[in-house]
Symmetry: C2
Subunit: 352 residues, 2 copies
């Protein structure tokens, strides 16, 4: 098969880790007889510096015409302390999600047996954790009307959801649950919020279409607790944009494998794949960043966007082998021998 | 001194744990020469059953005329699975907060050395944790306009904050920080929300009035992570209503001492004190509920509402003694000898 993949390296360590994902994907393509054309495009602070905005139209056109988007990381310290600056990298992210229609953010949290000791949680709490959040990504309070009145003294943000928005996200949740343990948790704050009541009633009405799926409804504050207490009691969780932002990040640290966690953001036409870690500016150019989360994002891309599970598995096997053999960057080396970003990428590619 | 204390026992185990706090408070009053008049009043499901609403006017009048409110817990399973029922216990809670003007919810999370092994976190992560959240409690998306349009197909919730609301909460935060390690963290989502930008700019403008306080600004998703990773890196945190709901509950489980955590909700005229645990309906009437969180809430009441630190310390010392000697309810007994709710209350009172 032939694929056109938009390549958004972004800021900080983005370009370095993206390079390794390209290398590994190319090895996969070679092995399985596919042809990948990479289409690099500007985004984030790098795009602001070059053309004055974080998600330029030219980048959008490349993404919209691609079969999938592979994304590094964006964010730069020079924008960090001024959230009200006229142009910020985050705006590019939100614009990209909206314009590409990436309404479902898929955020798995799973454990690697060899990394359990890196978790802040006790081993018996974290063992066996394998959950996936589906976070709604193009609605809610992120995109509602916002502003000031009373001469700037009053600020407001409007949270809005339509039934159709809930349905398309929940549908993905039910479908995902069907491929896993058939357990779905709808996270909301239906005891306080009207949007949450819409979420809950919409999901309730969909239950009859998926009679095998066991659905539970939990308040966001209760989930924030149980994620720390018994993360392995969850399987698939669906939730709205802001709750998802908070809970997926909370979930990401419990496994001890944050540097390895991939993610996908899916729309009706296109999907984007990226590591969940940030741009880690202090490490830029030092060849120390862990490329595995980005490489595993490429695995998700093969599996989800191209429906090629074998190809994805080849990548996962290579990562597991490197972990088992200690061919890892310094963050995972426990003070022992470690390898550079590029060397780990080479090793993974050579094991495809 | 003479105190009039409104006593809202509520539902489930509320009455049982409240009884112990009354007993211990009376012992304190006797020892230090104070006179307490308790004013019982209905709230929660108990109030719905009796008079058809969860926060009756009669209860409000008693609270408004009191020197402080001591609260048990509310919530009953018969209301749990129907968040859109016309009358729910939670509505009483929100109405009470609003009518009493309880704008600042004070939620400490601290550790008891003897209970560290109950934490889901590894000991080295949790040791030394002693943080306090100040959660704004009468504004934000909880109280903004909410509803439906498009024949029910679209739901909305409006989040609104005024500068004055932020200032009065932040002022309490700065003042609290001055009595502790002089570190204050403002939690927001200023990279996305206009209300968060108002929070951040308001707190920034107040920094000059508290030159000794070191203020940091962190995004809510980052805090959700760091609370699990390095809870002991925080001291005082201030945040808006919804973020506070999620993060204080997350924080409550990390210490392993959730059954012991007290809280206060403060207004300009009146303050309310309650354990953070719920009404635990399954345990109702079994004399097994741990009364310590409610007893420690009474300690906070003496310290904060009545400005009587010695009296508060007498209660804390009694609790520490009971913990050290294993005079505890079964949740803390590790399978060893345990005592009933009432017996623990008696023991605490006898040690004042
Ligand atoms: C940078 C920010 C706007 C973004 C979000 O909140 O969605 C980030 O936290 C994320 O989760 O991808
Ligand atoms: C019951 C609910 C309305 C309430 C809230 O969200 O404020 C509770 O979770 C709390 O934190 O006291």
């Amino acid at each position: 098969m032939k694929f056109n993949i938009a390549l958004l390296a972004g800021d900080g360590i983005g370009p370095e880790v993206i390079d390794q994902a390209v290398k590994v994907s190319d090895a996969v393509a070679k092995k399985f007889g596919h042809e990948i054309t990479w289409q690099p495009a500007l985004t984030g602070a790098a795009a602001i510096d070059a053309v004055g905005e974080p998600y330029p139209d030219a980048t959008h056109d490349i993404c919209a015409a691609s079969d999938a988007v592979l994304f590094g990381a964006i964010g730069h310290p020079k924008y960090d302390n001024d959230p009200s600056a006229p142009v910020r990298p985050e705006q590019g992210l939100l614009k990209m999600r909206k314009k590409l229609g990436l309404f479902a953010n898929v955020r798995p949290t799973f454990t690697f047996p060899s990394l359990l000791d890196k978790s802040p949680l006790k081993q018996e709490r974290i063992e066996g954790t394998d959950l996936v959040f589906l976070r709604e990504l193009t609605g809610g309070i992120y995109f509602g009307e916002k502003g000031r009145r009373d001469g700037g003294e009053t600020a407001y943000d409007n949270c809005v959801y339509t039934r159709a928005e809930v349905q398309r996200l929940a549908k993905k949740g039910f479908e995902l649950a069907m491929t896993r343990s058939k357990k779905l948790c709808c996270v909301d704050k239906a005891n306080v919020l009207e949007t949450s009541r819409l979420w809950r009633e919409t999901v309730q009405a969909m239950e009859k279409d998926y009679p095998e799926v066991e659905v539970s409804y939990e308040f966001v504050d209760a989930v924030a607790m149980r994620l720390v207490q018994w993360p392995n009691s969850y399987d698939v969780l669906i939730t709205e944009n802001l709750f998802g932002d908070i809970l997926t990040d909370e979930a990401s640290v419990i496994s001890g494998s944050m540097g390895l966690m991939p993610s996908a953001s899916m729309g009706s036409d296109i999907a984007l794949f990226e590591p969940i870690h940030g741009s880690y500016p202090q490490a830029t150019g030092l060849n120390i960043a862990n490329p595995m989360a980005t490489v595993l994002s490429a695995a998700m891309m093969f599996e989800t966007a191209f429906n090629l599970p074998e190809e994805g598995k080849a990548i996962r096997d290579a990562v597991n082998k490197a972990l088992a053999e200690g061919f890892v960057t310094e963050d995972l080396a426990d003070g022992g021998k470690s390898y550079g970003t590029k060397e780990v990428g080479d090793y993974l590619a050579s094991n495809i």
